[in-house]
Symmetry: C2
């Protein structure tokens, strides 16, 4: 679990008070900030409590985090400072994952690619704080950090991965771009549909998943205009959705969208939406509701993104997707391989 | 936050695997077990993974935990072993609170009464595990431990108070006495009513409180018979209710019931029910729903428990109750003192 959680409008102002007791000797605090804020984030940047040799790094999250990028950030910090007091991630899901991964790599030898998997990380990272500026991924509470490595897209899933502290300030999500906010919110909604209809589930994950789903429905179907209440509730939906991952698993949309992101670099939130738009067969009610959310919020989901790909490309996506065995098993049961054949998946990718 | 949470039927069987890595030198693990299990808990006792010099102590929870009892348990363990590897509480809310408090007192000097209040505890306790066998109090996740001291009933509320690990195994609540299970479940329900209608609340606590309330309604109004699903859901309701305390506050029922427990030793769960039965004025819908739950579950709520008390006794209860300022303020607003006068509270206690 995350050790400390602060939730509240304006709680970002408590950051100095929160991190100062964690400073060690003269080692700096490193603020890893979504590059989106580099030019238009003055209101946020001015409030970062950086002191002395503290460093602000704008994280390139144009692509989802790669193991090579994690390694280079950690190496850069080791070269410059020897060690750091802590890493504070400020941004969306990619920035959260980067901050967690860099923190771990400050104290673990080798490359982050060596730790993609379950419980391979052997030492705690440096002190790490997550401050989301987009809600929906659940990366602020999860025990993983999804990374694209040389051979796979897989997280550093370990007891040492969760943040020591998260600061959930819904004011920070107020100015997120409308489309981005929707796609990221749908990451939460789609996760709930996949886990609640799946075969892996217990009451812990069900309770959290149901709450996240209720909140998403309220925000994206009942509300007519985006307001502070939506920011508050989507931040809690993201938190609850992230917590529900503990004892549940995602399903078809995630499994198919991993193929897209591996081959085409499609970002996670939009990739899930692109797939969700075409999988009525597996989630009839969920997909119908998703389409109502898309309509009500005037969002356009891209179509035809697989046009012109070679069979070789399709095969690569199919390989990546079918490799996500637990996701398919959760969605379709033990006999999933008989249901989701390569032909069937080829046909689905062709329609995206 | 609690560091590690395990949830699942049968997860108690993982206890050995969970605690063994926490053993330090030859210091024992101490299992603090609700005395209820001493004679009729063979099925549970046989599964406690005690080794070598580990010790099982049956906790006297006939009364709610007192600071004197906490101190004597901690002193006894220091005398016998010098130090312990950990304290594992197995029981209801009182046992949870005792385990947390004894763990803290193994590493903090003086009496637990010195630490009743907010953030007075200066050092982490020894490793502590909470394993509830009754659901509803939320003590398994809270950052306090309610103790009756020489001058007040107040918790050791601190960042060091939460458990390092909780094991939530709904199988353990299966054989709880029906009345006890109801009263403890109502602790959760009443907390939700008080916090959700109160003036202190944010979206974090609201989301958790709403989920706990939904679960309580399902269990106590929709279900016709108690079954495994009820045990699962009430354990989650307790967890969610406990989490919701973070940014909310209880109200009238708790404030009045503290007076009863201080003077008469009335236990928390039943005390809340006794009060809730008579406070339609403050929670009209909540009390009506509470009464439907009482009827549907064939529970008898004691009446007339204040009969024959002296005015001196009433004054003591009134003093204790009115001392709970934040509870009254949450329930009745800033002007609560004009609303809840001594006369009004005297009249209410007289009806209980």
């Amino acid at each position: 679990m995350v050790d400390y959680v602060v939730f509240g409008r304006g709680s970002f102002n408590q950051l100095e008070e929160i991190i100062d007791p964690q400073r060690k000797d003269d080692y700096p605090m490193v603020f890893l900030v979504d590059h989106h804020f580099e030019n238009k984030g003055e209101h946020l940047l001015n409030r970062i409590p950086a002191k002395k040799n503290d460093k602000i790094i704008f994280a390139d999250v144009y692509h989802e985090p790669k193991t090579t990028y994690v390694d280079s950030l950690a190496d850069q910090l080791k070269d410059e400072f020897g060690m750091v007091s802590g890493i504070i991630g400020i941004g969306g899901g990619s920035t959260m994952d980067l901050a967690k991964a860099v923190s771990l790599m400050m104290n673990n030898p080798g490359s982050s690619a060596d730790y993609q998997g379950w419980d391979l990380v052997k030492k705690p990272g440096v002190y790490k704080v997550g401050i989301p500026t987009l809600s929906g991924t659940g990366a602020e509470v999860s025990r993983t950090t999804v990374l694209t490595g040389p051979t796979r897209k897989l997280g550093m899933n370990s007891d040492f991965t969760p943040f020591n502290q998260i600061v959930l300030d819904p004011e920070l999500t107020k100015d997120a771009p409308v489309n981005q906010r929707f796609y990221t919110g749908m990451d939460c909604y789609i996760h709930c549909i996949e886990s609640l209809t799946g075969t892996y589930l217990n009451e812990f994950s069900k309770s959290y998943g149901e709450k996240a789903l209720d909140l998403c429905r309220y925000i994206f179907l009942e509300k007519d205009n985006w307001d502070d209440e939506c920011d508050d509730k989507l931040m809690m939906a993201s938190y609850a959705g992230g917590m529900s991952i503990a004892y549940s698993q995602v399903g078809v949309a995630h499994a198919v969208s991993y193929g897209l992101s591996y081959l085409l670099g499609t970002k996670h939130g939009i990739g899930n939406c692109i797939v969700m738009n075409h999988i009525e067969e597996y989630y009839p009610e969920g997909v119908a509701e998703f389409k109502r959310m898309v309509d009500k919020n005037n969002i356009e989901i891209p179509e035809g993104i697989c046009k012109g790909l070679s069979e070789d490309d399709f095969n690569k996506m199919i390989d990546v997707s079918l490799g996500m065995k637990p996701l398919w098993e959760n969605a379709l049961g033990n006999d999933w391989e008989k249901i989701m054949t390569r032909e069937k998946l080829r046909e689905l990718y062709g329609r995206l």
